[in-house]
């Protein structure tokens, strides 16, 4: 079984935020305005954050780190968030009671809560992705590595009478990245480019000293 991971090369990343926009559209992430940001209610599954490492700042595209030892799933009282066999941290929206314990337990602060029912300007109403459910108010959501795309890839592969491989499935952010800074794949497959990059000496995981074993791997810039 695959263990999906994402490698982000900070030397290639230009900080253009195309991944942020692609993700919002792909996943029907609710619309946010500067006012909602000021209230601390920005809805986004990926955002750029400036992180100080060894005396200099790096800008990281930050999404759910899909930890192999996720602190958020342990604390969920209803198993609405759990680690699935492929290493994806799943969110079951209909089961979530909205206690927000997982959002508080996540050291990366990447889980967001639907404080209000999602809203889009009228001009955007027709742009919703029919493959992704719109979340109701009162539940937690976050990056799923575009899990719906994996389901579709499996379906396609099954129709073609073969097994799905890493080439069949990429998340929207990876597909969109104009600088090709993001590589997605099966970290357990030695032939997968993502696995090879994850073993690079430039590779690091953010806050890896916390022992949560993220599967989002960054490649250090400037060497």
């Amino acid at each position: 079984m695959a263990r999906w991971g994402l490698v982000i090369d900070l030397d290639r990343c230009t900080g253009c935020q195309a991944c942020v926009v692609a993700c919002k559209h792909e996943n029907n992430v609710p619309f946010s305005t500067p006012d909602t940001v000021a209230e601390g209610r920005l809805m986004t599954w990926v955002q750029l954050v400036a992180v100080e490492r060894g005396g200099r700042f790096s800008v990281l595209p930050l999404m759910c780190q899909q930890c192999d030892r996720p602190p958020c799933t342990d604390v969920c009282p209803t198993s609405a968030t759990y680690l699935n066999p492929e290493g994806l941290v799943a969110q079951v929206y209909p089961r979530c009671i909205g206690c927000r314990y997982c959002t508080n337990a996540c050291p990366f602060a990447v889980k967001v809560f639907n404080w209000v029912a999602p809203e889009w300007p009228a001009s955007m109403a027709a742009m919703k992705n029919p493959d992704v459910s719109v979340r109701p108010k009162g539940v937690v959501e976050k990056c799923t590595f575009c899990h719906h795309r994996l389901m579709q890839a499996r379906e396609r592969a099954r129709l073609e009478g073969r097994d799905a491989t890493g080439e069949d499935y990429v998340p929207a952010c990876v597909q969109t990245c104009p600088a090709e800074a993001m590589v997605f794949g099966d970290l357990d497959d030695a032939h997968d480019p993502a696995a090879a990059l994850a073993a690079s000496p430039r590779a690091f995981r953010w806050m890896e000293d916390l022992g949560t074993r993220p599967k989002v791997i960054y490649l250090r810039e400037g060497e």
């Binding site: 209610r41 604390v75 609405a80 009671i97 990366f108 916390l210």
Partner: protein
Amino acid sequence: MSQPEIQPIVDPILTVGPSFRRWAVVLGAVVAWSITAWVWQLVHGLGATHLGRPVYWGLYITNFVFFIGVSHAGTLISAILRIVHAEWRRPITRMAEVITVLVLFFGVGNILLDLGRPDRALNVFLHPHLRSPLLWDVSSISVYLTCSTIYLYLPLIPDIAVLRERTSGWRRWLYQHLAIGWTGTPAQWHRLEKAIGVMAILVIPVAVSVHTVVSWVFAMTIQPMWHSSIFGPYFVVGAIFSGIAAIITAMVIVRKVYGLEAYLKPVHFNNLGILLLVMCCLWFYFTFAEHLTAWYAHEPNELTVFDAKLFGRFAPLFWAMFVFCFVVPFAILANNRTRTITGTLVASISVNIGMWLERFTIVVPSLSNPRAPVHTFIYSPSWVEWSLMAGCFAAFALLYMGFTKLFPIISMWELAPEPAVAPIGPAEAPAAPKPPLNLAEA
């Protein structure tokens, strides 16, 4: 001989005065207002609060921890005093135990207020995840609520039987059912005392576990200044501290309103004041240890929260907490001359305010300063949150008042003088059930 003695306790149960009505109307209005706020929140969701990312928890969780803390008032204190045969406890146990049972509902209620999807609260039972400290909370609070309700009810039975004989109509019907056939035979006394003795011992570890588990909701995460191994005992000490303060406050009010000066004497306030002083010193010790270790180690994320608490945005709340929890009560209670009824009341109100601030400055500063450098904001609760908090306090007071109109707020049968059995109280001496028997038959 006991007839005139218990009359002042029975009288206020059966009569409702104008000042009771006035207070009931005022408190009822506050509760009605908070129900409006609650409906507003149900319609608009948690958007009605001022919570956001990363301050996902605020006033409701603060109140949850505070109320669960106050619940240690009763059961734990009355059980410990019962076991160590502290005879002066007799007139105050009932008052304390009622606080415990009532306040637990508001602790649980605040968790429900905090849920984004209260309609799915039952998922906690339908799909329980045993590794979640919130589920540990659900378990231990349910056990505690059950135990403390039984522990409140058992010693009530002989008193209910007394009321059964003195009332008619719906009250008689109610007391008849609640007295479950109590006639005061020696066999019944024997069984009752045995049951109370068992519950008194059982309830102590349950009470300790409850507040330990509440602290673990925070301590089990790896968030700065939450992930602390002393949180369990620190929260238990804080809980007993605020619990005693709540008892003293209730005692002063009940004593004044129902004219029970003959039962609640200065010695009770003095003794509870000394207990409060001991807890005050313990609280200082834990607070000092907790903050010294965070500061000395200089772990950057811990230090950010530490600075925000002691010198930054939360400093006014933190130092107010320190004054209310330590400076004021210590100054009053350490002095024999000021450890009067008024003095202990002032100290108790101060402790209650301070302990609420302590809960707030544990919950919010850590969340406001997360490890990840995401956009943060200044949390100040919305009108809905404040209204629901006011509603909780008003509803608690209302229910407490209601209890005093249904049941004796002082345990009548336990007031029996016991010169004959000096070293052992009747409650713990199944071999000597005579004194309560005499009283009940009188």
